[in-house]
Symmetry: C2
Subunit: 459 residues, 2 copies
Amino acid sequence: LASGLSLKSNTVVHGGKGIKKPFTEVIKANIGDAHAMGQRPITFLRQVVALCTYPNLLDSPSFPEDAKKRARRILQGCGGNSLGSYTASQGINCIREDVASYIERRDGGVPADPDNIYLTTGASDGISAILKILISGDGKSRTGVMIPIPQYPLYSAAISELDAIQVNYYLDEENCWALNVNELRRALNEAKAYCNPKVLCIINPGNPTGQVQSRKCIEDVIHFAWEEKLFLLADEVYQDNVYSEGCQFHSFKKILYEMGPEYYNNVELASFHSTSKGYMGECGYRGGYMEVINLHPEIKGQLVKLLSVRLCPPVSGQAAMDIVVNPPVPGEESYAQFIKEKESVLNNLAKKAKLTEDMFNKIPGVHCNPLQGAMYAFPRIFIPSKAIEEAKAHKMAPDMFYCMKLLEETGICVVPGSGFGQREGTYHFRMTILPPVEKLKILLEKVKDFHIKFLEKYA
Amino acid sequence: LASGLSLKSNTVVHGGKGIKKPFTEVIKANIGDAHAMGQRPITFLRQVVALCTYPNLLDSPSFPEDAKKRARRILQGCGGNSLGSYTASQGINCIREDVASYIERRDGGVPADPDNIYLTTGASDGISAILKILISGDGKSRTGVMIPIPQYPLYSAAISELDAIQVNYYLDEENCWALNVNELRRALNEAKAYCNPKVLCIINPGNPTGQVQSRKCIEDVIHFAWEEKLFLLADEVYQDNVYSEGCQFHSFKKILYEMGPEYYNNVELASFHSTSKGYMGECGYRGGYMEVINLHPEIKGQLVKLLSVRLCPPVSGQAAMDIVVNPPVPGEESYAQFIKEKESVLNNLAKKAKLTEDMFNKIPGVHCNPLQGAMYAFPRIFIPSKAIEEAKAHKMAPDMFYCMKLLEETGICVVPGSGFGQREGTYHFRMTILPPVEKLKILLEKVKDFHIKFLEKYA
C-alpha cells in the first residue's frame, strides 16, 4: 500500500529483553521532533491555546493581555465560542485572514487572499489533499509527479497510494544539493514517454538535504513550470529555518509575482507551511496551512468537497497556526519574551548546523554539504565493498545495514539514505540536529568512532 | 471525486446582500455540532487539556488535583513531556491503555488489548483508514461494502473515493428503522453477481435514523458476518446517546465475545468511538479511537504503515479522548460536577428527543419514528405531486427542494433525505435535536407552520 520508508518506525531495538547493549540510551535523531529532543514550547503560543481551551483563564491575572486578545479573537471565530465546535472545512475565517496578512508581510506586500488559504492537519494533510485532487480523474495516461531525489518520503508514499507515477529529478550533491533546471528538463522529457507529468514538487529549504534555493534558481523553476504548464507544489515548511550566511528564504509566491503578470496570472502554485518546524516545533498540534493560487474553479470545487468529508482540521492546531502567523509585535507585553525564545531556538539550530557540518567533514569517508537550512544533516558515507557484500547477504540496502549497525552499537537512530532516494552507488543517512548542543557533540563523536571502526572492520 | 452530500455545506443563504428574508437568524440544525448550538464543554475535560497545554498551570491552586493527576499522566506519555511532540502513529500508550480499560468496564469485563486500539483524528479518519486498507490491493473483482440506507455520507464518499462498490441494505422504517438480517442477505446475494462484498458497515445507534439495535439483532448480524466472512465495521460513536426506555447500547465486541470462541476467534471487527458526540460534543478536537480485533497480521502491518505516513493524530485530541474514557470517579474531587454536567446534557437530549418525535407526529403529512438514540430526527415527509413536479423543473430532488424552501422561508437549515439515501419515492430530512429546548420548540413550530403552508400551496 503506502510505499516509502516510515521515518518514525517504532521498531527500534530498545536494548531490552535481557540482551545487554553497548549503550544506555537510544537517541532518536531520526525524526524532526523538536520538543521530544528537549526544545521548550514558545510560551505565548501555549498561553493562547490554553486560554482558548479553558476560557475561565481569561479572568486570570497570570496571563498577559496580548495573549488574551489573541484568544478572544480566535474564540469569536468559533461556533459557540468553543474550540469544540466544527469550523468551516477550510478553517476559521479570522485565522485565514491572519495567514494572508502574514504572507503579505513575509513577501514584501505581495497580496494574499484569505479565500486562497486552507488550514490543514499539518502540512502533510494539505500535500496529500492537493496531490489527490490533481491526480484523480486522469483517465488514460497516468499522472506523473516530479519530486526531488533525495525527497521526503511523504511524497513517494502519496504518489504510490494514488497510483500516479513518481518522476525523479536529482539534486546536485556536488553543488550543495542545488536544483538544476537542466536536470528538471531531462527528467520531464524522459517521463513524457510513459506518463503525463502534471505536478512539480519542490522542497525549499530542502528535506533531507538542507539546501536553501537561490532567487535565480526559483526564477528558473517558475519559468520552467510556466513553459511546461506544470502545477508547482512548494513545500516551504522550513521557511523560518535558514542558517548559512548569504542564504535567504524566498517564497515561490513572491518570486512568481515579481516575474510579472504573464507568470502570476498563469502558474498554478500551492505553498505549504506548518506549526511543526520553524522555531515552534509544535508537531503534535497538527497545524498547518496551504495557499493555493490560480487553481481552476472546478478543481477548487473538488478540493472543497474533499476537505468537507474530513469535516475540519483540529481546532487547537488552527489556533496554534494563528500564533505562528500572528505573534506578539513590538509594544506588546509578550514581545520581549517571545523574541528571546524564538531567537534562542534559531540561534541554537544555526550553531548546531555548523557544528554538525564541521564534525562530519572531519570523519574520513564522510562528506557533508553545508546545512544551509531545515534541521537535518544528510552526509554521504563511504561504505567499503566488504560491508556492501555483507549487507546483500542480509538482504539489506548497504546504508540500512550501516544504520542498523550504528543503532546496535551506539543507540543512535538515524534514517538510511535509501529511504529518501539517492544516486545509485552513493550512500547517506539523515540525522536531525535537534539534540541539545552538548548531547549532539557526544552523538557526533560516537558516530565518528563508529564509522572509523566500521571502515576498519570491513577494510 | 468524493461523492455524497456534504452535511456542513457553507453555501447557506445567509439572508444578506440587501434581499430581505422572512427570518432574522439561520438556525443550523444540519450538523451534530453541539457546542455551536450552545452546549457547554465538560469542565473537567477542558481543565485537563489546558493543564497539558500550559503545564505552568500544574502549580495553580485553581485547578483540582484529579485533573492535574490526569494531565501529568498524559504528559508523561508524551516525548519531552510536551503535547507538541509527535506520538506513536497508533497514539500515546497510556491513553490506549485507558481506552482498553474503558472498553472492559463498558463490556462487563470482556478483555480489551491496548495493542488493538488505535487513536484517530475523529472517528471519520479511522473509518476511512480501515476502508482504505480493506479495499486496496483487491485486483480483479471490485470490493463491495455494505452500508445501511439511510447512511451517514462519509461512507458513500469513502467508498466512491476508493473506487469500491456501495452495496445498499435498507433499514426498516415501518419497524423503527430496525436492521433485518433477511434484508442483509438479499442485498449480499444480489451484490455477489457484480462485486466481491467484504465489509459490512453498521451504525448503532443509527445516524441519521436514531434507532438503537437490540441484542437479538446484533447477534443475528454477527452470525451473518461470521457465515459470510464479512469484516464488521461497527460505527458506535453514539454509544452514550441512548434515550428511549427499554433501549440499551450493546457493543458488537461484547456480544461477539458472549457468542463464544467460534465467533470471537474468527469474526474481524472494527469499532469506532469519538470525542465529538456523546455528552462531550468536542468535535473540534478531532479525537477518536478504533478497536480492531482479529485483523490479519499482514493487513495490520499495512494499517500501521498507512497511519505512519500521517505521522500521528492531533495530541490534544488524544488527551480529550483520554478524559472521555477516564473521567472522574466517585471519591475524586471533580466527580460531582462532572456527573452533574454529563447528566444535564444527556437528560436534556432525552427530553428533546421525545419532544421532537411528539411534535413531528402532530404535523399532518409527517411521520417520525422514536428517536431512541444519537442526536437526530429523520422524519418522513409527504411531498405533494405538484411540488415534486416543480422540484423536477428546477432539477432538484423533491426533498432538496423542500429543504431549500424551508431554509428560505424560516432560516432553518436541515439536510434532505436524499443526502443519506432513502427508499425510492419516500422523502425525509435530518434535523439535529441540539438547539436548546426553548429554541427547539420554536423551531419545530416553525417547521409545522411551514409544512402546512407547503401542503396548501402545492395541494
